[in-house]
Amino acid sequence: DAMVIQNPRYQVTQFGKPVTLSCSQTLNHNVMYWYQQKSSQAPKLLFHYYDKDFNNEADTPDNFQSRRPNTSFCFLDIRSPGLGDAAMYLCATSTRQDNYEQYFGPGTRLTVT
């Protein structure tokens, strides 16, 4: 089954300790997104890649970085996690051929202690 995979599903990190979340896809979609979803809130777009072109949302904190080494993989790096960064992080993909319908991964729940 073609899909979007996120690892790990649950991640615990310490305050200020860098953490990396990963996303991979077998859909061969050229667009990949990272969203942050806090409890009882809507998913909020952090950034997206259109092919290798990185696009940061204006209000995404500098603490959040991303890498996309190839079409299949995308990483979210949080350089110095704060307690306020505890959230569910969702990865999604899309392609023009599908009218940019977004396919979501299961998410990684990040806890900051």
Partner: protein
């Protein structure tokens, strides 16, 4: 700026009752609207989009540009419809803005 509003955080109905989940939007361009659903412990998935004009799992949604609404409706709710529902708007840059979500609980 675009905005999506779902006024109800929680909607509770009995099985077999009609359901309407409200969604209002503001957007200066021509909107493309979606409903996403998240069942318990599952990923967010597309339920329907207005351009396809389909009925999925008995749900329909009509875009009303005059009222800037895209309400989701189902005539007879089923217990398996219990989930979190998000309305979303896609802008000209193909980016989604989500509403705050409505939790639908269908009681037996």
């Amino acid at each position: 700026a675009q905005r999506v509003t779902q006024p109800e955080k929680l909607l509770s109905v009995f099985k077999g009752a009609p359901v309407e989940l409200k969604c209002n939007y503001s957007y200066s361009g021509s909107p493309e609207l979606f409903w996403y659903v998240q069942y318990s412990r599952q990923r967010l998935q597309l339920l329907l989009r207005h351009i396809s004009r389909e009925s999925i799992k008995g749900f329909t949604a009509d875009l009303n540009k005059g009222e800037t609404s895209f309400h989701l409706k189902k005539p007879f709710a089923q217990e398996e419809d219990s989930a979190m529902y998000y309305c979303a708007l896609m802008n000209a840059g193909n980016m989604l803005t989500f509403g705050g979500g409505t939790r639908l609980m269908v009681k037996p």
